[in-house]
């Protein structure tokens, strides 16, 4: 497999005061380029921890973590910031848009870290908003948009800098079924048409069904990894 993500014997231990909590116990997993993988499991199983490690937001206590052809467990904090900007698109459950910026400006934020000119940035933002069906909402503030529209803006922000990997943490967790379906189809389209590798944490089996592979975690261990039947 031409892997986008490779985890080898990953252990993650959190310290809470004097207590050490081991969340992932030597987890190994490989995700190929262009895969759409859903990660499911009960609360406390380590799904979000796994997602944070893959996204370079956190570092493993031990083990080998290769994402987008880079040993990110060996990068410094500053190097991981720059690496995230180039390689990862984020979609959160609660959108995490900046409330003081318009939709268009929110989408533009990742591009501020590039060398693109203002005109180039504007063109990219327009294209991203067009892709998520919100070309006419560029000047609206997040508070003027519905939950589904905010999540679409969040997806536009994730894809505007053209990263190869999308990490999505419960992207439909705050949406009604119909809106959630629209968001999942959008993610499927990005996976299918643009070849983006998508890793999605979800509690919702219907949402997980949109992925090409489903991974189940329990108590910090991988229990099932199965490709979805066509």
């Amino acid at each position: 497999m031409n892997s986008a993500i490779r985890l080898g014997s990953i252990v993650k231990i959190y310290k809470r005061g004097n207590q050490k909590i081991e969340v992932l116990h030597g987890l190994s997993l490989e995700i190929g380029k262009g895969e759409f993988v859903s990660i499911m499991g009960p609360s406390g199983s380590g799904k979000t921890t796994l997602l944070n490690l893959i996204a370079g937001l956190d570092t493993p206590t031990s083990g080998e973590l290769v994402v987008a052809d880079k040993r990110i467990d060996q990068l410094s904090r500053a190097e991981r910031s720059a690496w995230r900007a180039r390689n990862i698109g984020f979609v959160f459950q609660f959108y995490h848009l900046l409330p003081v910026l318009t939709a268009g400006r929110n989408v533009e934020v990742p591009l501020l870290l590039t060398r693109l000119t203002a005109a180039q940035r504007r063109a990219r933002v327009a294209a991203a908003l067009q892709l998520v069906g919100l070309a006419d909402r560029s000047e609206h503030k997040p508070c003027e948009l519905s939950g589904g529209q905010q999540q679409r803006v969040s997806i536009a922000r994730a894809l505007v800098a053209d990263p190869s990997i999308f990490v999505c943490d419960e992207p439909t967790g705050d949406l009604d079924r119909e809106t959630a379906e629209g968001i999942l189809q959008l993610l499927q389209m990005l996976n299918r048409d643009q070849g983006k590798t998508i890793i999605m944490v979800t509690h919702d089996p219907l949402a997980a069904n949109h992925a090409t592979r489903q991974v189940y975690l329990d108590k910090g261990l991988l229990v099932v990894s199965a490709a979805r039947a066509a």
Partner: protein, 382 residues
Amino acid sequence: MKYLLLVWAGLWRKKARTILTMVSIVVAFLLFGLLQGINQGMNTVFQRLNVDRLYVQSRISMSDGLPIAYLEKIRSVPGVRAVTHWSFFGGFYQNTQNTLPVFAIDASTQFAVYPKIKIPDAQVSAMQRTRAGAVVGAEIALKYGWKIGDRIPLRTSIWNKKDGSDTYPVDVVGIMDISAYNAGSFPAFYINYDYLDEARAFGNGSVLYYIVSIEDPRRGQEIAAKIDALFANSSDETTTQTEQVFAQSQIKQVGDINLIANSIVGAALFTLLFLTGNTMRQSVRERIPELAVLKTLGFSDNKVLMLILLEAVLLCVVAAVIGLALARIAFSFMGSLFGALSPPALVIEMGLGIAILLAAASGLPPAWRTTRINIVDALARR
């Protein structure tokens, strides 16, 4: 520049708080501009004062006066070009509300020591000839409608006459233009010293101080020392200073303007430091999850730190510029009170420097705190 969008948006996240903080900074820098402007402006005026004039006063206190007999002795000091003397009259017109800057002078030497007073020679001669003559500044003459030939019943709050009266009738013999010396408190109403000295009930034979015009300004210190040496160990010892130092010491009798101005400005800026610091701290604390999102998207710790610092700089500098601009406008309205005073470029530069320091001091602690944000915890609002 591309980050200005984020900085500006962050600044106006809570509009009311930002506006109130800005108003406080504007007021503080308006105060700074006004007080430092007055301060610097006075220094500029002092520097413009003549250094070829010396002031000789009693060593004990200026109000003690000096004997008129010193006149010839001072005149005999080598390097002295001319000597004149002034005696404060404490004058008023009709009632004490209408105070007048009246000084008893020696008309034969006054205009030689102050050559920039504009007055026709004929009027100077008339003053010398007329015992009860008076020369009045043009502004005062205009204010009271006085003209040459008018008789004014000038009254004094100090020098009662031997007959018990406080009124000295004087005849206006000249109108002068003293604008060349208008540095605030230049005497603008002259009467003859002899007229006062003969009539007054006490203090006869004394003057308030002597003004000495010297030939070479570079010898000012030396000549001052010689004059003081003349009267050393006498019952009326003298202190001789340049006009510049003399004017400063007169102002200091009211209070050390420099110290007062610096104290007020210092207190205002110190308070401002806490106010701005608190605003920045609150603003950052409320935005921890948003800052964590920026870091998630790839903004480094240093970039986020710079964004917060830039926000503090923008807040402080914009408000400071408004405050200093208002001070400049205020000075243009106060020009008639303070002559040509205005906040010099140095005060504006100092103000901007202080604004940047203020921004750094108030913005750095919360900005530094953002470098320790744990993204995972902040996104989960832990």
